[in-house]
Amino acid sequence: MARTNVKRRRPPTANQVTAYLLHHLQSLLFSLRKIYQAPTTTIMTVAVIGITLSLPGGFYLFLKNIDAISGDFRSSTQISVYLDLKLNEKQARNLERQIADMDSVSGTRFISREQSLQDFRRDSGFGKSIDTLSSNPLPHTIVVEPGEIDTFAVRNLANSLQAMPGVKIAKLDTEWLERLYTIIEIARRSVVIITILFAFAVLLIIGNTIRLDIQNRYQEIIVTKLIGATDAFIRRPFLYGGVWYGLLGGIISWLIVEIGYLAISGPLERLNLLYKSDMNLITFSFQDFIILIAASTLLGLAGSWIAVARHLNQIEPT
């Protein structure tokens, strides 16, 4: 009973917060219906946004994969330390212990001369000719794992190993790695530039779509202004329109990239088999997906905001 009494006394208008939220919900549904009612425009706009965003998205994934592969290389950076032939095994083992105790070294592996010879005989196929040799020409070898993977630190370590007594050659083969990293860095920056450019493109596409939308609904805007609608009220459905375009475009771009990667995964697996490597194709993580969708949605909002700010205020009843 008390409830009906309270109800009767309630004012006809909802309180401001409720009214505000209510209109947001209405604008959201209204803009969604508008999009649904004009499928051609929507599909075209969304497709353009999707294709545009799939480029930086695809490059990003490419880079992520390259990064993963090169990361393996990076962690496998080793220095091969070939010892003086005059050193016997005990001296060599002592030297290994000495190197292993160094701060900048994370691990060592000792390969004796005999072991080296056996390996060589097995792997090279020159077994017979090696047997003709009177003595073992191979030195003891210590494989050193650097503690840090920074190229400068690794090179320093190689230099100091080289300077140790009993060491013939400390060999570090990283030049090709450095080249690779430089190329990756160039690619990375290119992706940043491409992303910025294409984000701008999306901003313009959405801005233009919303601008046309505003023009198409010129009469409606005037009528609602005359009925007492505030600028914010009129703005809202257009902003939601931009949000929808951005959101749908983001999903399309994600689909395009995923399908693209599915298409190249076949040959890549064959390549994997040929190289006996176990590199796996990385696709978008859940986090990447969320970032992509959020970014394109934000671009949609920003694009429509620009269009609305530029064009809505110019429309006044006369």
Partner: protein
């Protein structure tokens, strides 16, 4: 409700649509503005609806000076007014119900309240059975009645109508005018611009006649002396 003190409106082209017009429309009154097309009827209504501003003189709505209303306040002032256009200005992408409900939506009414009041307004103009129709399927007279329902749904203090019967035949016109008279009976102030002199004569309502921007006939009591408010 409405006061004009020596209002002059000159458009950018140099055309003077209103020349030194003074008039006054009290709360709950109903009046007609007549005159040839181009005599300034629409301009007068536009000043009240805050679409145009006077070039000189003062226009007041509910004692609020319309000359210097801030842009952000305009929507809120317009909510006190119901405007009916000659070409009804319905939105053709939504139903009759949604058209009529729009002012309530704008003002943040609760959904149940919107449904109740919208149906009441449609009932008043005899179109409750058409609430789900699209405006394009209605006849001209029905469309105009939907326009009236939209103008009155939020119970404005003032109804402005610009040639509301311009496109209608005499029978329908009489019907429409009768709706205005009915609203006036329940206390709404009504100002109708029309050149349908025969119909106005029938209704025996006060009349203001404009000719080339000047008020040449005024059945209403004259406005207070403009100088008192300081015309500029």
């Amino acid at each position: 409700m409405i006061e004009f003190h020596n209002v002059t409106k000159r458009y950018e082209s140099g055309f003077e649509a209103l020349k030194n017009v003074s008039m006054q429309l009290g709360d709950g009154q109903m009046a007609f503005i007549t005159g040839h097309s181009g005599a300034g009827k629409s301009t007068l209504l536009k000043i009240i609806a805050l679409i145009e501003k006077p070039t000189r003189g003062q226009a007041l709505l509910n004692r609020i000076n319309l000359n210097n209303v801030r842009r952000q306040r305009i929507p809120h002032l317009r909510r006190n007014i119901g405007i009916i256009f000659q070409d009804h200005q319905l939105l053709f992408d939504r139903t009759v119900f949604d058209n009529v409900a729009l002012p309530l939506l704008i003002q943040g009414y609760r959904p149940q309240e919107i449904a109740k009041r919208t149906r009441a307004a449609l009932d008043k103009v005899g179109l409750l059975h058409k609430e789900k129709s699209m405006p394009i399927t209605l006849s001209g007279g029905e469309q105009q009645r939907v326009g009236i329902a939209r103008a009155v749904v939020h119970k404005p203090m003032l109804l402005l109508a610009d040639e509301p019967t311009g496109n209608l035949d005499p029978v329908l016109s009489r019907e429409i005018m009768q709706i205005f008279v009915d609203f006036n009976r329940v206390g709404v102030t009504v100002l109708v611009a029309s050149h349908d002199l025969r119909l106005i004569d029938e209704l025996e309502m006060p009349r203001m006649t404009l000719n080339a921007g000047q008020l040449i006939l005024n059945d209403l009591e004259p406005a207070a002396d403009g100088d008192r408010f300081g015309s500029y």
